[in-house]
Symmetry: D2
Subunit: 492 residues, 4 copies
């Protein structure tokens, strides 16, 4: 492995057109991210994040570019990596590295360590880079050398600090077990290199960190476990469970990107088709609504009787997959569970049925079993669209190799949806950074008034006229005029 020698610009931003294309897209995205732009307006003068040094690990896309430039506009400095080896949009990375006022020759943006198609080694090298602030420290004659905040998606940055500190406490990095997978070995190698260079680096970083704000279910799950085990080293805000994150990302994001992905992948008419949606959580609700809106007949499956009852009350047929598999044209998994479509299901499907996943990992569809099936043949129709010829003489079309097709075949969540998530992120960063006393080590959700604020900042862009309570009305229902308006367990 040959890793880039310097940290600044690990990919070719010398290509001016790449940075310029990214800048155009950032400009258009800003129009669709009113929450972030409103925060620049509100906090640009007061600079609440002045002094914050944020290690960011989150898909390096055009939308993230608007997030990064918002953090910077509020006073923060950032170093950034992607949290996925495939998800970087190189033009966005280039534009951020160059900066609005820089040039490829004289970049004036933030250090970015991310490109589309990293190897695992490159990925963890990038992850480590966002913790090395020695350049900045040198420039400023500072005594710190790491970040004081993490903005994380999936928990890899947080993991690195915790694992690093553990190794330092132990004085050594454990050998990989036989069962360790490739990624675990790479992480251990990364830590081993680090330990050789500095025996207390991660311990110092952990001590300096005021906290982490975490974007997703997976990362949040890790945080709660870590805290339950007593291992959490700094406070965390669970951004994922803000209403304006989970209900918007999942439902409205998928409603948009599922048909988009189906169309780009296959150009198959959705109208009139029988579509099977596995799971009726927020993702499944968005999927089912989108497909019905295109004239499909949607059948839903569920394991949770409450969600199953909701699906029925919303007018959908609710059935077990095995009972209707042969009638279905398009399958969409929305569960976060695994093996919800098995090889047996696949073998019972119609010829050229479409199989896709918008739930979580690629094991949601049992791709491993399909790949291992003797006599099955994989034909690439185009990137991310494969025909699998089955021994039974039929074929199925698998999108994005079973991975999230709204990312692989479409472009993920639109900017407006991400603006909700990222406005939560920025508010969470401000909370943890400016009010450390309010957040002892633990995992928190954002207070409801901030969740409401996120929503509020997105209303003007949609032409919404919000009603204001009179003082009498507020008193009558026992809430402040300016909110928060609901009890914590309100379900929206």
């Amino acid at each position: 492995m040959t890793l880039p020698a310097t940290s600044a610009l690990p990919f070719k931003v010398a290509d001016l057109s790449l940075a310029e294309a990214g800048r155009h897209q950032i400009r258009l995205a800003e129009n669709e991210m009113p929450g972030l732009m409103a925060l620049r307006e509100e906090f640009g003068a007061s600079q609440p994040l002045a002094g914050a040094r944020i290690a960011g690990s989150l898909h390096m896309t055009v939308q993230t570019a608007v997030l990064i430039e918002t953090l910077v506009a509020l006073g923060a400095r950032v170093r950034w990596a992607s949290c996925n080896i495939f998800s970087t949009q190189d033009e966005a990375a280039a534009a951020i590295a160059v900066g609005p006022t820089g040039t490829p020759a004289a970049p004036a943006g933030a250090p970015v360590f991310a490109w589309k198609g990293e190897t695992l080694e490159e990925y963890w090298w990038c992850a480590e880079r966002i913790f090395d602030w020695s350049e900045e420290a040198a420039r400023e004659g500072a005594d710190w050398s790491g970040p004081n905040m993490i903005l994380d998606d999936g928990g890899d940055a947080t993991l690195l600090v915790h694992k690093g500190r553990e190794a330092e406490l132990a004085g050594e990095v454990p050998a990989a077990t036989d069962a360790a997978n490739a990624e675990e070995r790479v992480i251990l190698d990364t830590l081993r290199r680090s330990l050789e260079l500095a025996p207390d680096r991660w311990t110092r970083i952990a001590a300096e960190l005021r906290g982490v704000t975490e974007e997703t279910t997976t990362g949040v799950h890790r945080l709660y476990e870590l805290h339950a085990d007593g291992g959490l080293q700094f406070p965390a805000i669970n951004v994922n469970d803000s209403v304006t994150k989970s209900k918007f990302d999942n439902k409205y994001g998928i409603r948009h990107s599922l048909p988009d992905g189906l169309n780009r992948a296959t150009d198959v008419l959705i109208g009139g088709k029988v579509v099977f949606v596995v799971g009726y959580g927020d993702v499944g609700k968005g999927a089912a609504e989108a497909l019905r809106g295109q004239g499909a007949r949607v059948i839903v499956s569920e394991v949770d009787p409450i969600c199953a009852l909701q699906a029925a009350m919303d007018g959908f047929q609710v059935a077990r997959l095995e009972d209707v598999v042969g009638e279905v044209d398009i399958f969409v998994t929305c569960t976060g569970n695994y093996h919800v479509i098995t090889l047996d299901h696949i073998l019972a499907m119609k010829h050229l049925a479409i199989v896709s996943n918008v739930g979580h990992f690629d094991n949601e569809i049992d791709m491993a079993a399909l790949e291992a099936l003797p006599g099955a043949e994989r034909i690439e129709i185009k990137p991310q669209v494969h025909e699998w010829r089955l021994p039974n003489g039929r074929s199925v079309l698998v999108l994005s190799e079973g991975r999230l097709m709204n990312l692989g075949n479409a472009t993920g969540h639109p900017s407006f949806v991400m603006s909700n998530s990222f406005t939560n992120q920025v508010l969470a960063q401000i909370e943890l950074y400016t009010r450390p006393e309010a957040y002892p080590v633990g995992v928190y959700v954002l207070p409801k008034h901030l969740d409401e604020k996120v929503a509020r900042l997105h209303l003007d862009a949609l032409g919404v006229g919000l009603t204001t309570l009179t003082a009498e009305q507020a008193a009558y229902i026992g809430v402040p005029v300016e909110g928060p308006y609901k009890v914590d367990h309100y379900r929206y």
Copy 2:
């Protein structure tokens, strides 16, 4: 006031046809209340409520009749009153009093104290009757004379016990204050009569009660306040906040009964009309969906920015009422707040605009101001439908005099919706009665696995095929195979 002399049959069940009509309707309703029927099946043999003496205070409708007969089928004895002076369906009351095997001459059902159109005095007399179990005690030679369980809706039965006990502790019923309203005076009179007859009656009842299960928001609110003040005397289960209650009653119940009420009241074509829905909580969501489904153009108003954003993302125009009032044909309030439609709004409406409330109390629309408006004239078009001629030369149509029009102009929630609520009620009664040790004095929501059970019992009737997790899948997502499946803060 001349109140009925005996407790048994305070209205004319001698009218055989009334009881028979009620019995037909009960039979049809049973087909729409699969949750309750399933409980009869599951618990009929084991009789978990054997020994339970339930004082029930809940609208004496056909659906409640199925609830009552389910409680009885599980071993309970009941005495019943309605929780509203208008809501009793006399045929249902007659059928329950007569019982499935009795006759008007030899009734074999449960004692019922409820009829349509009670006065306030009659209402509180009825409420007191459900606490007087001396007939039953005499018949059985028992030493108790009151109930050991309450099933409440709105908290009046619970209030009576608590107020009665307070008076007994004080040794006197306080005089009504000048500000007391008519109902408060009646309650005090009721207690005064009671105190004269028995100085410790309510104290004994409070001590014997294993708990109360409460149906609605209002009653739940009272319970939390009472407990916060340290006054609660027995445990309570908040049935209202079960998912299968609040999300189903509010959203799917209103989706059904709002257009039903509009149609029965006015026969006005909903298609093409501009309808203004005040509030986008669960009730407003159900209202908006129903009206769009009939081809109306729906405009929504909200004070909560999260709900406002949801409305916009669901495709509705969100506006302040005053900004569009002159374009609107039909107004529907769904807030639980007060004066959300003011007299100024009414004076700005189109000629013959329809004004209605499915939120809560009649002050949601400022009816008092309308009634006090000089020059306004009220014309009864038919019962519960009034034209108000305004001094500006225009008229508006007010439904149910500003009270809940889904009750006043239609027939309230359908049986299937109530089956969800009432199955929660029965499970809650079983919990409190059979596991008193698990519920120290306090207010509880039903555990999630019972909430899921309620849903589960309603699936077969809708032809739903529920999927079962494999052991591997359950382990993967960290839940038991048989549920519960979600964290407590899951929003559905």
Copy 3:
């Protein structure tokens, strides 16, 4: 049979409250019938129907009252009967007979011969009355004694003239054949009485008639047949096939009145239910849309592959009734065909399945076979709602005895829908009456520019802002600026 002695007020309008109640309802209906009110505005001064003597035979409802008073406002005189023995709303008839300015003692309205629940003898006596204008002739010293226009619904008035004329030409009324049904015998008796009184009455009437405007499919069908056989005596305008009649009545009328009828009849929650819609013409399209809008799962059947394909493309399951009959909760026939639900179907239904018809005649469901089924028992739950206990131990609920349930269990088409139909009627009357030279004997549809005019007159009430073509745009697409805008075969 004792028929009323005088023609003026065949029912008790002496009951002032009846006429007053009708007047209130007419006033409210006027607000929902903007097309008719606009015609009063446009033509009130010019009186295009001055001299017209209209024999009207159409359901004597509140909406028809607004039609009648519109015809009168345009200069016509009318005599009116209902076209159905059950459909008269007595308060509407009373209000029309009394007139806006009259009193029951001194009625100043139009002669009306209609009441709810006529016998067949009474029905045809009423039908004959609208052709006897001798009172009016005497008052004016005129030489005519009959009408010069017919406004018909179903063709009974037109039939009477043609049959009467035939009998006069033959010099005798034929004896009823053995196969003749009761109604045919009554018609022949009516004509026989007439022939005794005047040998050429119908011949003279036929000669004086400028034409008929016909409301429905059935009547139109008769007219085309009559014309094809060479028997038609005067021109006819087929109002039924105006776009603003057929597409609005059928689709939007049923969308409104189907759920209304289900609710009033059964109060069963529609959400979550499986509903089978037989036929996907305009009626079926409206039915399916309404039911989906209430959260039902809709299955459709069709015989026409084009309509079947439309249903599939609209997202509905399309299946043969026998293939899914056991899963269905509610059946709705929308075909105009017969025996689309057979006894075999009924015997295969779920317990307490609901069976209803919004198509045409009661033979759409094979009620005769059900009534003849040994061991079947019919229990009236309430008027128009019957439980049929089947020998297989199950029951079904039949609405309106298999007749149109949107009429029997609800109140038929709302005023706004009827305003479209009736505005077509008035324009058709004006066409035939004022431009007889343009309409030689034959059957015509209303010219497209008048169809468009009907639509235009209903836009303001819905707040529609219509766009006007520029002269250049009109030239570009080759239409006049003011319309008509479409070729005749355009399908909308």
Copy 4:
């Protein structure tokens, strides 16, 4: 201009991967074109098109490839050109030229004259090529040298024959007028060259043609005009007005491809946006349904009051563009008219409003005025997506330079929709070719039983179970059991 020297393979099919990629796509498309595949099954043996020599002029896409191979499977020979300079999919053209069994070196498919991005000269050269069958004639020793059938889209092939014949009759090609546009000059040049080579070529071709089947509105319009003027030389079938063409292409095709185009072009979240749909014909109906299905708030404009009333009854706000232009996020024109969005409208739009056309020509939006606006600047964001910076400081995003964005930004109608159109085409070709006596010179729509057949052939693929009339039912409604089922003016 250097035109290709030989007719066979005007583009590089030597690129094997191109033909192979096309073959994969054709195979997938066949699965979505069940109507065409069913015709191969039904008519493969009887070869009804044996002897047919079809000159085809229709977008050379993957779907058209399935059409071509269907025609060939039924016995026809074809020569093919595209009817648009941009619409050819080169891989489809390559695959057709190579043929299923050929190789680039030894092509065994049909002669194809089409590539993406033709010049006007190339376009008309291609069009001429499909009429030159001398190679085939030479091979077979035949005395003909042209086609005997045309399959046309837009009428260019038909125009060439008629214009050619006129020139031959006149003995000369007229000089282009000053006002003639570039394309007219190219056509005249093409004819001039032809006239030099053969003085009666087009006259002979016209005489030999049994007829043309025409795909689109524009072509059909030309045919009716030509026939009205007495100039039509051979019979024509108007495929465009089959129900299974116009109602399916327009409504369901646009419902699919409009959101697809918006997504691919902009990735902007459609949910919550205000979208203005200009025109509520079939295209507008499909557009409005699709956008609502994605959670947009849709406002519609119309000039035809009937369509405007439909839009209102379907729940849409109907407004003039100028009255709401400043609130709108996305504009979609669906009219077939011109200048429905003017420069004044554009100047009043929000910053970064999206402007797009799915109606017809690019003059639907006044692009010429925008291009001529002093100070306006055009920035290419990516191909077919341009930001126009306006002098007022705002920008708008114009898709596909104002041309059809469902073609320019997406991939046009999906295969299933085209299968309906093309099955009509094949049936029309069979009609004209095999029953010339039934079609004297004139313009015909396909008989309704064939329209119904097209639908019928697409039902199995959607899992539709079609119901069959009993003989009694058919007699009752007066239709044959096997159809056709509706009168010609039925509107569906």
